[in-house]
Subunit: 492 residues, 2 copies
């Protein structure tokens, strides 16, 4: 460092130009108030509360601060249940999404996207799903019922119908988008998350499910997750369908029964049985359903449903394909997997942590009947949603989150304020050559070195007076500590 | 092609499994109804309408269809003013965003993100901006006033305050996010667009503006746009500030005057003058303001404002830096540039098509006082927003939108349904080697070749019975038309 010319005119902190001082902003408070963070008021009554979602929410959350005018400090937190992504969080998110995209590329899926704001009509379903009970919905200024979408599949189905005969099936589409729900906030659950969706439209064979599960496995492998820690449970809605037929339960109860039965694990067995009976399922059938759902072996299932069962045939085909793909160790049959969405019709699956600490990491299935609920002819389809929340929780727990540092190539630092012109030339030339360049001014050299370390810069380019007069700049390679002068034109 | 074994069991279209037929979905219409598209009702009265936004909107837009239940066809269009992104549109968007990201990388900016749903309080400003008059706002179930953000800068300011002293200035942040407005729909204007934002926090010198404009120029160059077709107009809010001081106009009118004056070009000179007078500006001052805003030369500006004018000094510094960066030909001084956001305090700029057909392509400026309106100490800052709508319109007009095709590497096609296992092996092995693989089944070979052309596949891997028994597959290189057999393990 002693090789550098003496530093002049380097300010430790940027100065505000005086000119701006006479102009007080309209909304400025009389004195600068330090930022207060809102804290959750913990009321002794709230934990055992049986209040509705909204009132419970209001108990836990103070009213919003008054807006604008003479007041005061704006809440610096994003709306309750939502996230900011400062750079370090964004790097993690980009890393995860990059893996989503890369796996989608390996499977030759095409990316699509839909508005985060959708018509409420797309999500009105009667089966009592959690997802439709927690709609983040409202009326817009034109009196239309709209919703921040809770999931992406209905939008996808909408676009498939809209494109109509102009597209050639099968479609293999993926998307990464934000989904919303409005529920009482508990244990760090959020009101939004991002979800990777992969969907295959136009393939009726179990091959489609096998492909989707292949994608999920490839993703886990890329993230460093092994089948020792994570598994994928598989079943089929046709299992429940067969049981309902056995007990002559009317078809129109199918979706509702699926949604109720999916609560096993969250609710007690007794509560689920009660809900089933309230839905109109007779006690004998309830016992039958619960018994079948406890099965963990395909041969046992075959015993119960018979050898001509479609559910069994589908599942056998899937497990056979899994062997050929080479991901058998990831998947297990588990009749209790039903999934909470009403529209599934066939194979359903979910990834779970074998330690049993977390909610499902992802889930999906076949939904051959969704399009007709929108008034179109049906097309066989299946897909999955893979959120960004549980997987990151899991990766953090396992120490699998990589340390993703900033990656800047060059720092250009003029050693004198008079050299801002030459520094501009250097910066411009390096960027045109494709280098990532951070221009630093008005700092001490010591700060610049610290900064270089922080952002993993590989080179420091110092623009000094005497060098510049000779058409040179001084370069310090920050990994080798090598230092040299170079002609400006030769710098690349 | 004649070298291939005869094709068996290849179905032209996938079949629905019979099993699904007994299960009618709950919401299924009694008969399959063909998709109807909603059409805009064109009323003779609507074009000359002076109704408010909402009622005008309602006149032009039929009420939403009834939701769910026994009805009927869901509207296949996304909500009015929003977009779906089918694959071809998504490829274009990804290409554009990739360029945004690459330029941000060249400038060593870090990516951040914020919720699309924000507190309304963040956007309540009194200066009468278009952006705050068209808020897409509503009350959530908890009684909080929230908004689909119309712009990103206030969220960014919020996060800067939240991070407080934990971050080292300057910050150089970029983000690409969706922004919303609720306004009467005219001439294809939408209710949402995506916006690339770059912001520098903590640099008071004009260097920051010079860096931002460098980014914009680098982007244009990457997109194939030249300075013959696009320019960047530059001025400073300090010009208006100086004029207001000349005429002793009270400081609290500054923001409002800026917002009114920005309407020149949209409204007639007379209308703008009227609004200024309504705001409390005397006629003489109004004439003075309008006259200064017509200036197109820095030396003329210096004559009017005097040689010690800060506005002039800032602008001169910027033009000098532009010369060193090498982008002088892109920028011109134009005192009429004010920009419509209330919070700008210094240099403002906007990119425009020189043919004068389109709205501003992007715009930005210095906003040194925004943080104090949120109750924090001020930090000097500047930034710009660059939407995805106008630039794509411009690129299309200029024939600069690239033809971005799908890029799949391999198609794997089993020639017999019995070979679904071996095909799975091949697919799995190729994907593990990083190849993008489309598995096609149940199609005719002719379809496969057409499909291969459509998706730009480079190879077709045919899994045939006789080859497989010898541990081989047949490969057709689709660019060279070369055809050969290869051992499965050697395929890569």
């Amino acid at each position: 460092m002693s090789a550098f010319p003496p530093l002049r005119h380097l300010l430790l902190r940027p100065r505000l130009p005086l000119s701006l001082q006479p102009f007080a902003p309209l909304l400025r408070p009389s004195t600068a108030v330090p930022i207060r963070r809102r804290r959750l008021r913990l009321l002794s009554s709230s934990s055992s509360s049986t209040a509705t979602q909204d009132s419970a929410d209001e108990v836990a959350e103070p009213p919003p601060l008054a807006t604008g005018k003479e007041t005061s400090v704006v809440d610096v937190n994003p709306p309750r249940g939502t996230r900011d992504f400062p750079p370090e969080d964004m790097r993690l998110r980009n890393w995860l999404f990059q893996n989503f995209r890369e796996v989608s590329r390996l499977l030759s899926f095409e990316e699509v996207d839909f508005p985060v704001l959708e018509s409420e009509a797309l999500f009105i379903r009667k089966a009592g799903e959690e997802i439709t009970q927690q709609l983040y919905n409202f009326e817009d200024k034109g009196g239309r019922r709209v919703v921040l979408r809770p999931e992406i599949t209905p939008s996808l189905a909408r676009l498939v119908i809209k494109q109509g005969k102009s597209v050639s099936l099968p479609l293999k589409w993926f998307t990464i988008g934000q989904c919303w729900r409005y529920e009482r906030m508990t244990r760090g659950r959020r009101r939004e998350h991002y979800q990777w969706n992969m969907d295959i439209i136009g393939v009726s064979k179990v091959r489609a499910e096998a492909e989707l599960i292949h994608a999920i496995v490839l993703l886990f492998e890329r993230l460093g997750v092994t089948s020792l820690d994570v598994g994928i449970r598989v079943s089929s809605r046709k299992v429940l369908q067969a049981v309902l037929q056995m007990y002559s339960i009317p078809e129109h109860l199918f979706m509702e029964v699926c949604v109720i039965v999916d609560k096993l694990g969250k609710l007690s067995r007794e509560e689920v049985e009660k809900e089933l009976m309230q839905a109109g399922v007779l006690l004998e059938a309830v016992k039958g359903i619960v018994e079948v759902l406890s099965l963990k072996s395909l041969s046992k299932l075959e015993e119960v449903l018979g050898s001509d069962s479609e559910a069994v045939a589908d599942l056998k085909r899937l497990f056979s394909l899994a062997e050929h793909y080479g991901y058998s160790e990831w998947i297990t049959f588990d009749a209790s997997v039903v999934r909470g969405l009403a529209y599934y019709t066939g194979i359903v699956f979910e990834a779970f942590d074998r330690a049993g600490k977390l909610r499902a990491i992802c889930g999906g299935g076949r939904y051959d009947r969704l399009l007709s609920t929108f008034g179109s002819d049906d097309i066989p389809a299946c897909g999955f949603g893979f959120g960004d929340a549980v997987i990151v929780e899991f990766l953090k727990e396992k120490g699998l989150v990589p340390d993703i540092a900033r990656q800047v190539e060059d720092i250009v630092f003029p050693l004198d304020v008079e050299l801002e012109g030459p520094a501009s030339k250097v910066v411009s030339s390096l960027r045109r050559k494709g280098r990532s360049v951070d221009l630093i001014e008005d700092k001490r050299l010591k700060w610049v070195f610290k900064h270089a370390e922080r952002i993993n810069a590989s080179r420091l380019v110092l623009v000094g007076n005497s060098e510049w007069q000779r058409g040179m700049v001084r370069v310090k390679n920050l990994s080798t500590r090598e230092e040299y002068e170079i002609k400006i034109d030769e710098l690349c």
